[in-house]
């Protein structure tokens, strides 16, 4: 029996965490995502399901609590916004290195530095290339609606456990703060028993001790571990690409955009179609793995691509690596906390179309 609610994106994440049977949340307040912790506290998630909620003394503590709790094989999450996520980079690198499953939510705000609390998408590089040290990746999911804020929580946990990898939900101040209808999934019982072989649960006589670490003093062993990680990332690139296409079939020009920008581009697409322009929208849902092949496959048929992000242009690099420059691609975006409007985006597309019509493709 679906339960329809009007919720903020942040609240939807929190409610979904409870319903997905999450075992623990550790976090520190920061705008624009403090509602996640607040909602969990107001809802008394602990009473509802036994889920543990703890306000940590800092983001540094929070990510390391996640690291510890995730060692037990339980479903653990944290959330923050840009500066707080930067503080977590060492911890995230550790979690990735130790191959622990967990869910991290970044409701991005304008940077750099303290920046502004308004929405932004300028943490793309940090999220997909690894803001921490070493060769590691996260699975990065980019919700574009409050519904997806809810749906990506169980999806995120599934992927996290399937691959023993931290999953990042890369959201932004628009999606976190807006309210929309959400179709809430049913409560999933917390799986308090864990039989994963790797977890820390106390060494019993019938198994050797389990150790979780990201250290290897021997470089050759460390390289082996890295090969294993790279193989895993390859597998994820093969199996877990997700995206959505809107009016792409006959499109000569497409927007590529994720999250809030995708919603804005969707409106711009509609406005463009109203004007008779053959415009479509390709929305990557997974930013890592990035839908490289899918974009490459389409690139031959297109006249140009407009990448729209609330940033100075980050995803555009992945698009160009995907298209191998076979088709013209440009970036448009407002940033530093400014949200582009549908008509601005449309105008940028019209300019791009003009420039293609005037010159060579």
């Amino acid at each position: 029996m679906p339960e329809l609610k009007l919720m903020k994106g942040n609240e939807a994440i929190a409610e979904a965490a409870i319903r997905a049977g999450a075992d623990g949340y550790f976090g520190y307040p920061i705008t624009p995502q403090s509602e996640i912790l607040e909602y969990l506290m107001v809802e008394d998630a602990h009473k509802r399901t036994g889920m543990v909620i703890l306000q940590a003394e800092s983001e540094l503590a929070a990510i390391n609590m996640v690291y510890g709790a995730a060692c037990t094989g339980k479903k653990i999450m944290t959330s923050s916004s840009s500066p707080g996520i930067s503080l977590m980079q060492e911890g995230i690198s550790y979690i990735a290195g130790a191959e622990l499953p967990c869910l991290i939510v970044n409701v991005v705000r304008g940077g750099p530095g303290l920046g502004t609390i308004q929405p932004s998408q300028a943490d793309y590089f940090q999220s997909v290339k690894g803001g921490g040290h070493g060769d590691y990746r996260l699975i990065v999911l980019a919700p574009a609606s409050v519904q997806e804020m809810s749906d990506f929580v169980p999806l995120g946990f599934d992927l996290a456990f399937k691959y023993r990898i931290p999953v990042l939900i890369l959201s932004d101040g628009v999606i976190g703060q807006m309210m929309e209808k959400v179709d809430l999934f049913d409560q999933v019982p917390r799986a308090t028993e864990f039989d994963q072989s790797w977890v820390l649960s106390g060494k019993t006589h019938d198994r050797p001790k389990n150790t979780i670490t990201s250290l290897d003093l021997e470089a050759l062993d460390m390289e082996k571990h890295n090969h294993h990680l790279q193989a895993k990332y390859k597998l994820i690139e093969q199996n877990e690409v997700r995206y959505e296409e809107i009016l792409c079939d006959d499109a000569e020009f497409i927007f590529i955009a994720y999250g809030a920008s995708a919603r804005i581009c969707q409106k711009a697409t509609q406005l463009a179609r109203d004007k008779g322009l053959k415009v479509g929208l390709f929305r990557p849902i997974t930013l890592f793995p990035f839908p490289k092949k899918e974009i490459f496959a389409r690139s031959e048929k297109l006249k140009a691509i407009l990448s729209v992000e609330m940033s100075a242009g980050q995803m555009i690099e992945d698009i160009q690596l995907a298209t191998k420059f076979r088709v013209k691609s440009e970036h448009f975006g407002r940033y530093g906390g400014v949200i582009h409007s549908p008509s601005e985006v449309l105008e940028a597309m019209e300019n791009l179309i003009k420039s293609c019509d005037n010159g060579n493709k």
Binding site: Q118, E180, A260, R263, H340, P342
Partner: protein, 182 residues
């Protein structure tokens, strides 16, 4: 049908909750809805606004750069949003504290003296409900009964006793709204 609304005023005037009630009301009627606030640090005295979309279709962008209707509660917001109303659209404003009045000819302009009325009724807290009533009179997309349900949804149970008072305020707002340019 799609109605794209901006509500804007001072922080503390109930702008966000007015939007929330509208969104809830729309949801009660099976509409698609979205509510996107401007948000800021918890400091008083700044401006606040919220974009509400009610639609029978799937909503794409929650961020808009032009609006069918603007509900305006202070001068700054009037200056900012009057130009963003679509031709043929609606501007509803409370005239208290307004010194530079709206001047567009291609939109319908309504005024509701909600601040004054609220202090007349000695119900300062229902100021925003008077404005909401005015809006409902002009754009009756959502039914009053659903609005009341929306209020119930958006208020914590301990405040449910204020619903009748809000109802009165809405009705008063419906009564006192006037169109300025006919």
């Amino acid at each position: 049908m799609t109605e794209e609304i901006i509500i804007a005023g001072f922080g503390g005037q109930g702008v966000l909750s007015m939007g929330k009630i509208l969104a809830y009301s729309g949801m009660m009627q099976d509409m698609e809805v979205s509510w996107m606030p401007s948000y800021g640090p918890e400091m008083r005295g700044g401006t606040a606004n919220v974009t509400v979309i009610l639609s029978t279709d799937r909503i794409n962008s929650p961020i808009l750069n032009e609006f069918d209707t603007a509900i305006i509660l202070n001068q700054q917001s009037l200056d900012k949003f009057e130009p963003l109303i679509k031709p043929g659209g609606i501007l509803l404003y409370d005239n208290s504290g307004i010194t530079r009045f709206p001047g567009r000819k291609d939109i319908k302009i309504y005024c509701v003296e909600a601040t004054e009325e609220a202090s007349r009724m000695s119900m300062v807290k229902t100021f925003n409900m008077i404005v909401l009533g005015a809006y409902l009179k002009i754009q009756p997309f959502v039914k009053l009964e659903n609005v009341l349900k929306g209020i119930a949804k958006s208020l914590p149970p301990r405040h449910h006793h204020t619903i009748p008072m809000n109802n009165d305020a809405i009705i008063r707002g419906m009564e006192i709204v006037t169109q300025e340019n006919k």
